[in-house]
Symmetry: C2
């Protein structure tokens, strides 16, 4: 395991921990040695990624990510452009909406708009979603070419609930359905009782830059409603694309099946993750 991977793992661990943990807590949670953990925390703190309360000696996420996030959003204003559309989708569906971006081999939730219902799905901003078990993840996968899908199929597909698609055949089936409809659905595939529908947000070249999803409790949301939500999500996704990349038409079809078929640049993958 590379040192960087360990540092990132530590950062993720820290991000996932409820409140301000001490050194031992973090070492336990991340499964690393206490000495190693501390060395990394110190090193990360030198760059502001981690902060330590000098009195309680507990650690927390630092402000460096806030700075990087600002730069990222300035150059590539995804979350901020997408926010009003997410609100619109909450207004039409009544359910919680979340917007995610690809981050490594998962999706990172970068924006959440809560439903007004008292009984609603609550999504933590910043949650990391698995690709094969969530509507968002499926919507994302459905835009990928066969070569890019290999990486996902290669790793074991964790079953989060009984409804999770764990075989590659099931998954392929769902992705095909998603490509056909323009959106993907998950009926409690990640968390039991949570129904969701999601559509991918594509860039000018048909590559998925993010997803937008509607999620509601099974008590209120049935299959029919989910299909309705999916259609709305796909519609909003098109609006977001127009806002992000302008209105000019490009050659690709609605489901982004262009690049990997037409423009495979060379045999070697640009970022190979062996």
């Amino acid at each position: 395991m590379s040192t960087i991977a360990k540092a990132m793992h530590l950062l993720n661990t820290l991000a996932d921990m409820r409140m301000e943990p001490g050194l031992t807590d973090i070492a336990t949670a991340s499964g690393m040695d206490k000495a190693t953990t501390r060395r990394m925390l110190v090193e990360l703190s030198r760059f502001g990624f981690v902060e330590q309360d000098l009195l309680t000696r507990r650690y927390r996420l630092g402000s460096a990510p806030v700075r990087l996030a600002r730069i990222r959003e300035q150059r590539y204003p995804f979350a901020s452009i997408v926010a009003p559309f997410a609100r619109e989708l909450v207004a039409t569906t009544g359910e919680t909406v979340h917007v995610s971006e690809p981050a490594g081999d998962r999706l990172a939730t970068v924006h959440v708009e809560m439903s007004d219902y008292t009984h609603r799905v609550i999504i933590d901003p910043g949650q990391l979603l698995p690709l094969h078990a969530t509507a968002s993840g499926l919507a994302y996968l459905s835009t990928l070419g066969p070569a890019e899908l290999e990486a996902t199929f290669a790793t074991p597909l964790t079953a989060f609930t009984a409804a999770t698609a764990t075989s590659t055949d099931q998954l392929r089936e769902r992705l095909n359905e998603g490509r056909r409809l323009g959106y993907c659905i998950s009926e409690g595939g990640y968390e039991a009782g949570v129904m969701s529908a999601a559509a991918a947000i594509l860039d000018a070249k048909g590559r998925a830059r993010g997803t937008i999803a509607v999620a509601g409790p099974a008590m209120r949301v049935d299959r029919a409603k989910l299909e309705e939500f999916g259609a709305h999500a796909a519609e909003i996704a098109r609006s977001i694309e127009r806002a992000l990349w302008g209105t000019q038409k490009t050659g690709q079809d609605r489901h982004g099946r262009t690049e990997w078929m037409t423009a495979e640049r060379s045999k070697t993958r640009a970022i190979s993750q062996s």
Copy 2:
């Protein structure tokens, strides 16, 4: 140099580069070997800190920092709480206001509110500011105890302009002035022609958690105006503190001279950066 430090350096380099650079550009800019640079970019991309455009093969900041920033802001909502106060300060002073947080050995600008003047100071959100040469940096340093100041005095003080304080005596003088007034000023100490005044934002224990600064062009802002701005900034800083930590009084004085004098927990520094 530790691997993590190199990775962070790379991330900072990438953040500072104007647009999407290629591998060689990044290697040159960061002063690292091409192979090393690439390995790190790949590793960082696995966690979403860096993204590569698969067609142009150029690299950019990824969305992982956005995720971490959301979590950080949720737990410790500095930037979002501070924003309306920054706007208020723009309204009263007419000049550009920026809010920074400590990030390692510098200050990271986490929020900027622009002046309405056509001729105004433009500050990039995400800029990293040196501690000894900016009003914000001085305001921050002025809250530290002698032990904590050592680290800054130990490193050579870069002269950005003729007005930069480069001797420890000059610096100590300015910090004393800052403690007396409750704000610090910089008359072109970082960039010629930019006048600025800043006040530290303290937590309940008197430790600086950030700074708020007003910056205007020398053409319009003279020493007298700067003092006025400083007073306003200090006032707003107090309001921000009330918003952040509630209204309950704590024992420390207005300039935060408590903790390091009364509660030095032990001989060993909590985070020693040797």
